[in-house]
Amino acid sequence: MIPAYNTLVVLAGCGLLGLAAGTVGCFALLRGRALVADAIGHAALPGVALGALAAAALGIEARSLPPLLIGAAATGVLGVLAMQALGRTGRIREDAAIAVVLSAFYAAGVAMLSVLQAVPEVAQAGLSHFILGQAAALRAADAWGAGAIAAGCVAACLVLFRPLAAACFDAEFARVQGLRVGAVDLALLGLLVLVCVAGLQAVGLVLVVALIVLPPAAARLWAGRLPGMLALSGGFGAACGLAGAAASAHWPDLPTGAGVVLAGAVLLGVSMLVGPESPRALRRVAAEPR
């Protein structure tokens, strides 16, 4: 059976998304921003609801993607700002601030969605797909859009490779050298928001963090230097995205997010066992005489 055009486009879109998530995720992981991605994903839900409401009010089709994604990006960024504001008070530690923001924004989103089910245009928009992801529900135009955003994120990571690497390894040394680490961090945050938002519909906002964290975590177990880790992380992300989308196309009841994350988890497990930079391999190296 030859897959339909739509299926192929969705596969390509999910593969590109995975590539972008793995590439941006590589730097996010090294900069200690993995949980920030989780917070962005969850904080996007009220934005999705607001976007649908705005679209309905403006007479646009409620399931058309741009208003939903703009809303998602807006509240995602708001969530990050709230997190930083809480952290700056000095009374709530950063990990607690992430937990507070993540759950509070998500709860607000769930509450809004339940209310919005009463609005007929919104009720039909299938917003619940944004929670766990349903690549099969993607239309070709949506997949193209997500793929384009993803390609842009990968390009940005490559262009910013050296500043990002310097900020990730030793931010203070980078500052002493005159690198504007604040601007680099902001760029990384922007890329994270873009990847999270682009991946919402396909992977779902609950699990998008896994697509950002699992590929680089697995890649690190194979590569001892950043260029190799980055390339592998992007490749692993693409593979996870493709596997998840293919599984979801084959078993329509399986949310794509679950398929993507399970693929990533298997990859990480295998890497832990056989990767040349895995803990086992390193113990073996340490045992050899130098």
Binding site: L30, L158, V159, L160, F161, R162, P163, A165, A166, C168, F169, D170, E172, F173, A174, R175, V176, Q177, G178, L179, R220, A223, G224, R225, L226, G228, M229, E277, L282, V285, A286
Partner: protein
């Protein structure tokens, strides 16, 4: 030659993390050459260096570096942080780390310029780490990691290098490598300001000293500033054996 310009001048510098200042009203002029910052734990030595570099906000006072405002000197001051400051599991080889000294001069993407790569290799060779250039940094010993950091500071090719406890927990080979480099930098007319813990070696390794205990206790050439009296004053009179190293001087004033 700018050897007559003081590498560091601070005026009334005060830094506080909470209500209590960690560094208070430090007015100090470092002379060119090799300077040790010495004082008990919690005296604010690292804080002072980090404030001079602009890495932490100051509550009051001002800093001049080589006669200029710190912002103008960004990228022209060498920096050797404490080894614990970074994640040594980071996917980088020793050469990758040293090459980060050229981040500002290199393009953002693409291979490192040949000159930068050569400079990084030369710096690694100078600290005796040429054979370890391609090894992942997590697989180096603590002393080797410190020498990689030292090579990175050298590769910055700066007129002034600040070092935060370069001799902390290093092996003999690393200690002698650091001393050789201090002497080379001094002979070239460059300045080094280093936090130093071992009272026994201060005189051998450095030209001047700043004795610090939140405030300036004494500063200047060894003969006048580094005496039994000034050291005892810096360590709150609790100094048990002068010249015996850190273990004897953990007690603090107040």
């Amino acid at each position: 030659m700018r050897a007559s310009v003081p590498p560091i001048e601070t005026t009334g510098l005060t830094v506080a993390y909470g209500p209590n200042p960690a560094v208070e009203d430090v007015t100090w002029t470092a002379a060119p050459g090799l300077t040790a910052i010495v004082g008990p734990n919690g005296a604010g030595k690292s804080t002072l260096l980090r404030a001079i570099l602009g890495l932490i906000p100051v509550r009051g006072g001002s800093v001049r570096i080589l006669g200029e405002a710190p912002a103008a000197m960004r990228g022209r001051v060498g920096w050797l942080p404490q080894r614990a400051a970074v994640d040594w599991d980071f996917p980088a080889s020793a050469l990758d780390v040293v090459a980060m000294a050229g981040t500002r001069r290199a393009r953002w993407f693409g291979p490192l310029p040949r000159a930068e790569r050569e400079a990084a290799r030369a710096a690694l060779a100078e600290v005796g780490m040429a054979d370890y250039a391609d090894r992942q940094i997590g697989r180096l010993s603590g002393g080797q990691q410190q020498r990689v950091f030292l090579a990175r500071a050298l590769a910055q090719d700066a007129q002034l290098v600040l070092m935060d406890e370069p001799f902390a927990a290093v092996d003999a080979a690393t200690e002698s490598a650091i001393v050789a480099i201090l002497r080379r930098l001094g002979a070239e007319g460059r300045s080094v300001v280093a936090v130093h813990h071992d009272l026994a070696t201060v005189r051998d390794y450095f030209d001047q000293v700043l004795l610090l205990n939140r405030r300036v206790v004494a500063a200047g050439p060894m003969d006048t500033a580094f005496t039994a009296e000034t050291v005892a004053a810096a360590y709150g009179g609790k100094l048990l054996r002068f010249g015996a190293g850190e273990t004897a001087v953990l007690a603090e004033a107040g």
